[in-house]
Amino acid sequence: MSEQPMRPATPMLRQIAEHRSLLQRFMGVSKEWKGFALLLLGGLGLSNLAIAYVVIDGRLDGQWYDIRDLGNVTQHLRSWMQDEGFHPAVPYLTTALLGALGILSVVGGWLLIGSWVERRVLAKFQIRQGPNRTGPFGLFQPIADAVKLMQKEVVIPRVADKFLYYAPPVIIFIPAILGWGPVPWAGKMSFLDLNVGVLYTIAISSLGVLGVFLAGWSSNNHYSLLGAMRTVAMMVSYEIPISLALLAVVLLTGSMQLSTIVAWQANYNAWLIFLLPFAAFTFLFASTAEINRTPNDIGEAESEIVAGFYTEYSGMKAGLFMGVELGNAILVGAMMATFFLGGYTMFGLETWIPGYLILAAKIGAVYFLFVWLRGTLPRFRLDQLMGYAWKFLIPLSVVQVLLVAVEASIFARWETPALFPLAAFALLNLGLTVEMVRRWAHALGYAPEVAQQQPVMATAIGGLKAAQKMRGG
């Protein structure tokens, strides 16, 4: 061996050796900047103390500048308009437009950074960097992507149904935006606080099927049609478990109004995921099927049917389909947070931090879970998924609904503090769920010990005779 010093042998290894971590880069910053950062942190702390003083004092509650609940602003605006004597339609329309603007900015803002977040987080799961070239940390990557997609030539299959071909990218966005209506972001921040909010949610989610189907049918491509039929079949099947899971929620909380459901959870300091673990799981799993995410992304299974129902779409139309997936993911995150994770409340933390930030954090958590699943799990097959819905989720959900009905009627008649029945229900439901799932799975013929049988080491080398000898012995 030669005596020369070791050096990275290939250009890539050299690059890796020269790469500095974020901490090292931070330590290399000049003293002035460090002092500035320290000052900034101190200032933030002081201002937080001041805010805390005002909040404890109660002086902030319900004022228009109380940004913990943006509903205060619209409320004051509306009462001011009524005092001024405008036509009754004016405050109505103004607040409606403000709310719509809010929802659109949430969805639109997410579309701006969503694909960056997804790709970046996924990249971390896959030990790579993710987009980091365009702008700081690659943040402008979605914009660059969108510009590129818009510049692309519009390719329409000659045999496509022109009228129906153009509609789906738009149709499919409607539920992704309308679904945000009843989500409560804070005490008064709810655009459409329907008293049939749960039904509304289910109804809106059932609208997505049509866009998918029309996209697949009008493209006049076998891949598209296969993807569309798979998606439609799956959405129709998985709407039932979703409805049953939400029915359990409605039975226990006694309301179909989303804000009441959140208030119920805040009131008893009990997230419904603890009380109804199976419903939460069903909802999460079925939602991944509804919005076409791994492990249930069979509608656009890349390795099988290329891009599923939007195979024939190019340019920004395909971009819209991908965008709606992102939008749906956070919508489902919001639903999951609202129904099962306490919505905008966090055991009293909502007094200090704006509720919409808490909800956003919860949405982020659920979304992170989605990306995690996408980075980890393979995909189910269509028949396995349908079987899972019909043979597993639906029967168990029905049993759960019966159970919850009994529990709800006990709970309604309970006199003493609610903690005892709720804790009992939580333990009972968890235990029953585990036992039920285990027994039902075994009844369906699930046998892990057989499935995991692994290859053995050869004891002989040869052809068929050796194989038979090994099998026999």
């Binding site: 890539m12 980075g375 980890t376 799990l377 393979p378 028949d383 499935a451 053995v456 050869a458 090994m470």
Partner: protein
């Protein structure tokens, strides 16, 4: 399934995410179920065997890089062994050990690719693939250190190997060999007990030992269906008879068995690598061989156990500097021929996973 729906033709490929190259399948489908399929190959045909008849034996070695481009070292080795047997050339011991080391590294890299793409075909969004590429990357770095190329290595020569590995090669190799078992455990943890993966691969694409032998399958596809046939054991070449290793054999012959066979073979390769590193003697890496080699008139069929199975090379010499006939026995092509039987009656996702488990390389199929 006796559906009354009208069957339709689905054209998969030549550009499709799961055909692993430019390979086309015309499938007659009935709903989601495959009724029949036609495999159409030849999109990557480069007329390799004919071109080889115009080139000297050494000039033919690069062709083997481009045939099975995921396992160039194994191809190199097979042809080099064939030329040596044809011309009666001796190989120094150190060169044999280097050949074993590089062939086993290539096997690890190729199995990483095969298993990674298989899991991707099953729908995992490329995470296992990229994890396995981490090791493959390091192996390719080792190749790059040694011979300057990562994929088309052109490393083995008649009479030895072309370069002695540089000084930084050995520490890097030791590091890789030390960390590989942990990595394999990691993949096993991620995939071997994964319910979804089991559901997708268990009992899918079953090949019985009889079918496998009748279809003349080779490599992990053969061993996965329970036939313990490995040329490294059955007909040891280089110095394989000096190493202690096992041959994993599947019990059911399904996709999962083929996957696990590859996984476990990777582990055995690491065992071989460790022993080879410990045993490798000093000495020259190459014997001098005339540039324009003129082997005596004759024919030879040399075969090595490549990652995809038996890499066979049939060489006929007419005494001239170029082979009279140069034929590759491509394992992928012959393994692929069973796909039609396997995919008939299966659903489209199952067929995709089955194709992934057969592990084809189109460069080798079309040559």
């Amino acid at each position: 399934m006796n559906s009354t729906a009208e069957p339709y033709v689905l054209n998969i490929g030549p550009q499709h995410p799961s055909t692993h190259g430019v390979f086309r399948v015309r499938v007659v489908m009935d709903g989601e179920v495959i009724r029949d399929l036609d495999m159409i190959v030849g999109y990557l045909h480069r007329s390799m065997e004919k071109l080889a008849e115009e080139r000297t034996y050494t000039q033919n070695i690069p062709f083997t890089d481009r045939a099975d481009y995921l396992a160039a070292m194994s191809g190199n080795l097979g042809l080099a062994l064939g030329i040596e047997r044809l011309a009666g050339i001796d190989v120094p011991e150190r060169a044999s050990y280097l050949r074993v080391i590089f062939a086993e590294l290539q096997r690890v890299a190729s199995h990483a690719m095969a298993n990674g793409t298989l899991v991707s075909d099953a729908g995992a969004w490329q995470t296992p693939l990229l994890y396995m590429f981490r090791e493959r990357e390091k192996i390719l770095d080792l190749f790059e250190m040694t011979c300057g190329a990562r994929l088309t290595t052109n490393y083995m020569r008649a009479g030895g190997v072309s370069f002695e590995p540089p000084a930084e090669f050995w520490p890097a190799l030791n590091e890789l060999v030390a960390e590989l078992p942990g990595r394999i455990d990691e993949y096993m943890e991620l995939l071997a007990d994964n319910e979804i993966f089991l559901a997708r691969t268990r009992g899918i694409g079953i090949i019985t030992p009889e079918d496998a032998i009748n279809g003349s399958l080779v490599g992990p596809a053969l061993r996965g269906s329970g036939v313990p046939w490995d040329l490294r054991k059955a007909e040891p070449y280089c110095v394989y008879d000096r190493f202690d290793f096992d041959v994993p054999v599947g019990t059911r012959g399904d996709v999962y068995d083929r996957f696990m066979c590859r996984m476990m073979e990777t582990r055995e390769s690491v065992r071989i690598l460790k022993q080879a590193i410990a045993q490798i003697p000093p000495g020259p890496h190459k014997n001098d061989v005339p540039l324009a080699l003129r082997p005596p008139v004759g024919e030879v069929y040399s075969r090595v156990e490549g990652p995809r199975g038996e890499n066979g090379f049939y060489l006929v010499s007419d005494g001239g500097p170029a082979p009279y006939r140069f034929h590759l026995r491509a394992p992928s092509l012959i393994n692929l021929s069973l796909l039609r039987e396997l995919a008939r009656g299966a659903s489209l996702p199952d067929a995709v996973v089955t194709l992934g488990s057969i592990d084809i390389v189109v460069g080798e199929i079309d040559r």
